[in-house]
C-alpha cells in the first residue's frame, strides 16, 4: 500500500497548492465560513462519489446515480408533503433507492450486460419514471408536520457545523470500514483486480456486484435526501450530470476505472478538489464560459499529477 499512500499524498499536495493560490487571489477563500460552505456543498457529490467508489473498484460504473437521486428525492418529498412520518419517509426512500440499485446490479450480473450500457439505460428509465411521477414539476415538501424537522438534515447545524458535513463524515467512515476491514471489501477489490480469479476462489461475484450497486443506490438516495432537504422540494431534473462529477471525484482520488485499485480516502480528496474548484471559480467571479475551460484543465492537471507511474 506504500505506493498508494504516496499517490494520495500527491493529490493532497496538489489540493493544498491550489488552495494557496486561490487564497491569494481571494481573501474570502480561507475563512471558516467559506470552508464550511465548501464542505457542505461538497457533501452531495462526496456521498454519491463514495458509492461510486465501490462500483468503480469492482471495475464497473454507475451512470444512473443522478436519476436515482431525483427519483428517490421525489418519492421522499411526496411522502413528506402528504404528512408521512419523517423516519418512515426516509426509510421508504432509502429502501426504494436500494431496490433500484439492486436492480442495476442484477441487470449487470445476471443479464451480463456491460455496466456502462446497463446504467445508461436505467439512467434514462429512472429519469423518465421521475418525470412521470412528478409530472415534470417540482414537488414541494410543503408544510407537513415533519417538514421543518426534515429541512434540518440539509440546512441544520450542530455546534456551528452544518449537518450534511456530519452525514458525509459518518458515511465516509462506514465506507472506509467496509472497504478495508470486511470481507465484502476484500471481494470488491478482488473482483476489480481479476474477476475470473475471484470467482474461482469460491466467491459469489454476482452477489458482490449486486451489493455494490445497491450501496451506490442507497448513497444516491442519501444525497437525494440532502438535496431535497436543502431545497425544501424535489426537482424532476435534480442530479442530471452528477454521475460525471462523482466519477471525476473518484478518478481524481486515484481510483482506477478498470477497478481493483484506490479507495475512499482518495475519493474524499477528489470530491474536495471539485468542490473547491467550483467554489473558487465562483469566488473569483470567472465568467461561466471560461469556468468550463478552467475546470477541464484543472482536472487534467490533477489526473496528470496523480497518474500511475509507468511500469518501467
Amino acid at each position: 500500500m506504500n505506493k498508494e499512500k504516496i499517490m494520495k499524498f500527491k493529490s493532497i499536495i496538489g489540493l493544498v497548492i491550489f488552495s494557496i493560490i486561490v487564497s491569494f487571489l481571494s481573501p474570502r477563500f480561507l475563512t471558516v465560513a467559506n470552508i464550511l460552505n465548501v464542505l457542505r456543498q461538497t457533501s452531495i457529490n462526496a456521498v454519491i462519489a463514495a458509492g461510486m467508489t465501490f462500483v468503480i473498484l469492482t471495475g464497473g460504473i454507475d451512470l444512473s446515480v443522478g436519476s436515482v437521486l431525483a427519483f428517490t428525492g421525489a418519492i421522499c418529498a411526496s411522502l413528506l408533503s402528504a404528512g408521512t412520518n419523517l423516519i418512515i419517509a426516509i426509510l421508504v426512500s432509502i429502501t426504494i433507492g436500494a431496490l433500484v440499485g439492486a436492480l442495476n446490479g442484477l441487470i449487470i450480473s445476471r443479464g451480463k450486460i456491460q455496466p456502462f450500457i446497463a446504467t445508461l439505460a436505467t439512467m434514462t428509465i429512472f429519469r423518465g419514471a421521475t418525470l412521470v411521477f412528478t409530472d415534470g414539476k417540482p414537488i414541494s415538501i410543503g408544510n407537513g408536520k415533519y417538514a421543518a424537522t426534515f429541512t434540518k438534515i440539509g440546512s441544520g447545524q450542530f455546534l456551528g457545523i452544518p449537518m450534511p458535513i456530519y452525514l458525509m463524515i459518518v458515511i465516509f467512515i462506514i465506507c472506509y470500514f467496509i472497504l478495508t476491514q470486511t470481507r465484502l471489501g476484500r471481494y470488491i477489490y478482488a473482483l476489480g483486480g481479476n474477476e475470473e480469479a475471484t470467482r474461482l476462489s469460491g466467491i459469489n461475484t454476482s452477489k458482490t456486484k449486486v451489493y455494490v450497486y445497491t450501496i451506490s443506490g442507497i448513497l444516491s438516495t442519501v444525497a437525494g435526501i440532502i438535496v431535497t432537504s436543502r431545497l425544501f422540494s424535489a426537482q424532476p431534473n435534480a442530479g442530471s450530470g452528477y454521475e460525471l462529477d462523482a466519477i471525476a471525484a473518484v478518478v481524481l482520488g486515484g481510483t482506477s476505472l478498470s477497478g481493483g485499485q484506490g479507495g475512499i480516502p482518495g475519493t474524499i480528496v477528489g470530491a474536495l478538489i471539485i468542490g473547491i474548484l467550483n467554489n473558487a471559480l465562483n469566488l473569483l467571479n470567472v465568467s461561466s464560459y471560461y469556468q468550463m475551460i478552467a475546470k477541464g484543465i484543472v482536472i487534467l492537471i490533477a489526473v496528470l499529477l496523480d497518474r500511475k507511474q509507468t511500469r518501467y
Binding site: P138, L231, S233, Q235, A238, N278, N282, N285
Partner: protein, 280 residues
C-alpha cells in the same frame, strides 16, 4: 381508402414541439395547450426536443410524416428552427411559433411574451427598489441558450442607465441546486449584495435557500412565475418574479391553431402580457 381515412383523421391532430419538458415553465405551457386542445376536441401530439435543435428538426419531420394538420413549435433557437419550419412549409403544414420566434420560414402566427422586455422589467423593478445605486448579482441560465441571452440582455440594458453595479455574474444552469451552491459561493465572496436577478425561478428559489441560510437580507427577482415562486413572493421571501403566463401561451396557441385550421384569419403576432408578480 386507407390513405383517406388517415387524411380524414388528420384534421383532428395538432403537433406541439416543445424545446424541453424538464423545465416546469414549458411543462405548464404544454399543459395549457393540452387543456385547450381537449376543450376544442383536438388530439395534441407533444414532442420534446430536449433543448437540441437537431432533435427538434427530427421531431418536426416525424410530425410531417405522421400528417398533422398544424404544428406548434416552441423553438429551441430562433435561427436553428428555420429548417424545421421550412420542412413543415414544404409539406403545406402551417406553423405557429410559441414563446420564442423564428428568424425564417413561413410562420402564420407567433405567440409570445418578450424575454428581452421581461429582463428589462426585472431590471427596472430593481432600480425602483434600490434607488440610484447598489450591488446586484445576476444568476445566468445555461450558457448559450436564447432565454439566458435575452433575459440577460434586457436586464443589463435596464441597468445601464443607473449606478447599480453587477458585482457577480455566474451561471447556475437554470437549476435550483446549482442556484443554491453558486449563490452560497457568491455570498462568501461579496460582502455587500442588495439584490439578485435570476434568469429563472428555479435558480431564484435555490438562491433563496442560500440567502436564508446566510441570514442576509437581499431582494430576489426571478423569472417565469412558477407555482413555487409565486408562493415565495406571496410569503415575502422573493420580491418579484416576471410572469410570462406559459399556460396562456399554450392555450392561445391551440386557439389560434383552431382558427387557422378553420380558415379564419389570425394576427401574425399575438402578444402575451408580461406581468410582474409582486406581493400585494
Amino acid at each position: 381508402g386507407q390513405e383517406e381515412s388517415v387524411g380524414g383523421d388528420s384534421t383532428k391532430k395538432i403537433g406541439l414541439v416543445v424545446s424541453t419538458l424538464s423545465n416546469p415553465f414549458f411543462v405548464t405551457l404544454k399543459e395549457g395547450a393540452e387543456a385547450k386542445a381537449k376543450e376544442l376536441g383536438y388530439e395534441l401530439i407533444v414532442l420534446d426536443s430536449q433543448d437540441d435543435p437537431a432533435k427538434e428538426l427530427s421531431n418536426v419531420e416525424d410530425l410531417v410524416t405522421k400528417g398533422v394538420a398544424l404544428i406548434l413549435i416552441n423553438p429551441t433557437d430562433s435561427d436553428a428552427v428555420v429548417n424545421a419550419i421550412q420542412t413543415a412549409n414544404n409539406a403545406n403544414i402551417p406553423v405557429i411559433t410559441l414563446d420564442r420566434g423564428a428568424n425564417g420560414g413561413q410562420v402564420v402566427s407567433h405567440i409570445a411574451s418578450d424575454n428581452i422586455a421581461g429582463g428589462k422589467m426585472a431590471g427596472e423593478y430593481i432600480i425602483e427598489k434600490l434607488g440610484a445605486s447598489g450591488n446586484v448579482v445576476e444568476l445566468e441560465g445555461i450558457p448559450g441558450t436564447s432565454a439566458a441571452r435575452d433575459r440577460g440582455n434586457g436586464f443589463n440594458k435596464a441597468l445601464e442607465s443607473s449606478q447599480i453595479k453587477v458585482v457577480a455574474r455566474q451561471t447556475a444552469d437554470f437549476d435550483r441546486t446549482k442556484g443554491l451552491t453558486v449563490m452560497e459561493n457568491i455570498l462568501q465572496a461579496q460582502s455587500q449584495i442588495d439584490a439578485i436577478f435570476a434568469h429563472n425561478d428555479e435558480m431564484a428559489l435555490g438562491a433563496l435557500q442560500a440567502i436564508e441560510g446566510s441570514g442576509r437580507n437581499i431582494l430576489i427577482v426571478g423569472f417565469d412565475a412558477t407555482e413555487d415562486a409565486v408562493k415565495a413572493v406571496k410569503e415575502g421571501k422573493m420580491a418579484a418574479t416576471v410572469a410570462q403566463q406559459p399556460e396562456k401561451i399554450g392555450s392561445l396557441g391551440v386557439e389560434v391553431a383552431n382558427k387557422v385550421i378553420n380558415g379564419e384569419k389570425v394576427d401574425s403576432f399575438v402578444p402575451v402580457d408580461l406581468k410582474l408578480v409582486v406581493k400585494e
